[in-house]
């Protein structure tokens, strides 16, 4: 059964090739079947492999499938090889399964779009690259997948390329993530120079043997890798691209910019956990970045008008929670939150997509309202996902994962009360902005009539994800409720065990109660200011603070002034630089020669004849006298 592992990335790649080569010639329906089907096959194989993995774990807890040797330069010989362990299993399950549901949804969402087969070609390429990323057994193959998903993100953000703004957003996403990727590439060079290999397992092993805790090389490598993770996962200070990435079609935002690609940074840090553990400073930086990002993005989400931008900031904020978890050493809590987040955030985006379809492709929440009774399936699934995002206690998946992170942020030896406060304030804000979105969109007076009712494919995707957003959390219960931790047990061998300094069921339940009260309070705050007393929120909307948050804390403005303007200025100055002059000079010379010679073509026969005569005389003179 493990032998099928290589098919998981390959099948979507084949789907991509078919759609890219013949997409223009095959029927829409067949293109849809190929696009959705290839990911479906991948998901099936993943489930088969996963069941096999859980039933009879391979020796040593991991399975490696070497396909072939990629190339060989001296001693450096990376291979195309896939590595399956608990961590990559969780990731490929989310990628292919949630990916399949989103593909199914897209088959209906995109049905009238001109670029239907192009869309599925890119989506399949994405699934192929993303599964390559998480299955790679060496960092070079991981980097290939890493750049592959970046490319797909670029292509899909700019999918509707006739609007110049979409192209701008796509370029922004590509360039900003490139900053992080450059840091990551340097990190990889450093690893090759130190160990002569990029094989993840051997790097982790050699690092744990040869690097002392707190050594500067461990710090450098982990900070460089963190740079890549920060860019990809849209964390501070490279978070500015994600809100603009919402220019792409909504299923793209669900798949790439919520559920999977943006969590590649979380995967990278979790995968390289040994290196990060060896450098407590780097790990603290990860936690601080996570805490700051979750607060900043949360406040920004409070003020957005565009429903997708709320979700984008919320994604940044939730990935901040994952970084916080990784930073305090609660590795499996981070992965757990990745999983529940993939379910409920994908569902929120898909629900938002259904709302956008139903509201004449409007994104502004203030022009929506009263959709509760008109779109019942969308409303109920959206409500479940929102409850999960806000982490309403006990009944939602998000509660279990977020609570685990908050508890570890306080109780772990690497945690602190400040990180916990950031997390708990973030939880309150999360609940406020989530229910602000729900109330604005689904409650109140109806402002726009319905233009589309979701059909079966959209409903299936919504209902399945709705179930998972509700039930996905029960696989792992808090310690204080008894030991039931399927996910942590699966990941136990991969991560160092968390070292709790505060223990006790009573304390943990006390903290859970605090967060429960705050979260429910957040719902009431949203209810009070949006439905009961909208005057205040309208006044707040005009305030400077609100505008500052709306613009994402002015980071775009800052980067524009600090990086873009000088870059444009210098390239203006250097527009006609010296090297260019040489090449344009050659061109100008050729044009000059052309003008001179074309003067001789006067069209007068007698001139031509004189030319011949003079030529003849010169030739004869040379022949006779020389």
């Amino acid at each position: 059964m493990y032998g099928l592992l290589w098919l998981i990335p390959i099948v979507p790649f084949v789907g991509f090739l078919i759609l890219a080569l013949f997409g223009g010639r095959i029927k829409r329906q067949i293109a849809g079947i190929i696009g959705v089907g290839s990911v479906g096959i991948s998901a099936l194989i993943t489930i088969l492999v996963g069941i096999n993995f859980l039933a009879s774990p391979p020796n040593g807890g991991s399975f490696t499938q070497v396909l072939y040797s990629w190339f060989r330069v001296g001693n450096f010989a990376p291979s195309i090889a896939f590595h399956l362990d608990g961590l990559s299993l969780v990731f490929i399950f989310i990628i292919t399964f949630v990916g399949f549901l989103i593909h199914l949804y897209s088959a209906e969402y995109m049905q009238d779009d001109e670029g239907f087969s192009r869309f599925f070609a890119y989506m399949n390429l994405f699934i192929g690259s993303m599964t390559t990323l998480v299955l790679a057994n060496n960092l070079l193959l991981l980097y290939l997948g890493w750049e592959g998903v970046g490319l797909c993100s670029y292509l899909l953000i700019g999918f509707w390329y006739t609007e110049p703004e979409n192209g701008y957003a796509a370029r922004k996403a590509f360039i900003v993530t490139r900053v992080g990727d450059t840091a990551m590439a340097i990190g990889l060079f450093l690893l090759v120079r130190t160990f002569g290999t990029l094989n993840i397992q051997s790097i982790l092993h050699s690092a744990s043997v040869s690097w002392p805790v707190g050594s500067s090389i461990a710090l450098t490598v982990s900070l460089l890798l963190l740079g890549g993770a920060v860019g990809k996962s849209a964390q501070l200070p490279l978070q500015t691209w994600l809100p603009d990435a919402m220019a792409g079609p909504t299923p793209v935002s669900a798949l790439i910019h919520a559920a999977t690609m943006v969590t590649a940074g979380v995967y990278l840090i979790a995968r390289m956990n040994v290196v990060f553990t060896l450098s407590p400073t780097a790990q603290l930086i990860v936690a601080i970045i996570g805490a700051l990002t979750l607060l900043l993005a949360g406040f920004s989400a409070l003020t957005q008008k565009d429903i997708k931008r709320v979700l984008a900031y919320s994604t940044i904020s939730q990935i901040g929670y994952m970084f916080l978890a990784l930073g305090v050493g609660a590795w499996s809590a981070g992965i757990f939150h990745f999983m529940t987040h993939a379910f409920f955030k994908a569902l929120l985006f898909l629900g938002a997509g259904a709302v956008i379809l139903a509201q004449h492709h409007k994104h502004n929440m203030f022009e929506m309202g009263g959709l509760k009774d008109k779109l019942p399936v969308t409303f109920w699934t959206f409500l479940i996902a929102s409850a999960s995002l806000a982490a309403l206690p006990i009944i939602t998946a998000g509660f279990y994962s977020k609570d685990m992170i908050l508890w570890h942020a306080f109780a772990d030896s690497k945690g602190s009360v400040w990180l916990w406060i950031a997390g708990i304030v973030g939880a309150l804000i999360t609940s406020v902005y989530t229910f602000r979105m729900v109330f604005l969109t689904f409650y109140g007076k109806s402002k726009t009539e319905i233009s589309y009712h979701p059909k079966i494919k959209i409903k299936i995707a919504l209902v399945v994800l709705g179930f998972l957003s509700f039930a996905g959390g029960f696989i792992e219960l808090p310690d204080s409720w008894g030991h039931f931790a399927l996910l942590s047990d699966l990941l136990k061998s991969l991560f160092p065990a968390p070292t709790l300094i505060h223990e006790g069921a009573g304390l943990e339940i006390f903290f859970q109660a605090i967060s429960a009260v705050l979260v429910i309070g957040g719902v009431f705050i949203a209810y009070y200011f949006i439905l009961k007393n909208p005057a205040f929120s309208l006044k707040f909307k005009e305030s400077k603070l609100s505008k500052y948050w709306f613009s994402g804390w002015g980071f775009d403005w800052l980067y524009d002034k600090v990086f873009v303007t000088p870059a444009v200025f210098f390239s203006r100055i250097n527009k006609s630089d010296f090297v260019d002059e040489i090449y344009t000079g050659i061109g100008k010379l050729a044009v000059l020669g052309n003008k001179l010679f074309s003067l001789t073509q006067s069209g007068r026969i007698s001139w031509y004849a004189i030319g011949i005569v003079i030529g003849g005389i010169i030739t004869l003179t040379i022949v006779v006298f020389l």
Binding site: Q601, S602, G603, I605, S606, A609
Partner: protein
């Protein structure tokens, strides 16, 4: 025949050639240009004949027959072209036919 020296013959041929060349260069009328070309061809032919006579070889006269034939063919093509030119442009002035200038 024998008392005409080679130098005289070649001089005559040279004068004829220069006359033809001047005609080509100076004349505007396409028909005159064609006639001047004929004169130049005949000058060349005369040079061949004189040279053939000098070495008592028949080659010079053979060449002249060739030139004559070629000149006939050239004139027929040339006259046909001139007819077309006249039909198209209603003029035979070579300086007006400068549409193909660079």
């Amino acid at each position: 025949m024998a008392n005409i020296s080679v130098g005289t013959g070649l001089l005559l041929a040279g004068i004829l050639f220069m006359l033809g060349l001047l005609g080509v260069l100076i004349r505007r009328n396409v028909i005159f240009i064609l006639m001047s070309i004929e004169i130049m061809l005949n000058a060349a032919g005369l040079a061949f004949v004189v040279a053939g006579a000098k070495w008592s070889q028949p080659d010079g006269q053979v060449m002249f027959i060739f030139i004559l034939t070629m000149a006939a063919a050239e004139v027929s093509v040339g006259l046909a072209l001139i007819l077309q030119i006249y039909k198209r442009f209603k003029s035979l002035n070579a300086d007006n036919l400068n549409r193909m200038k660079g």
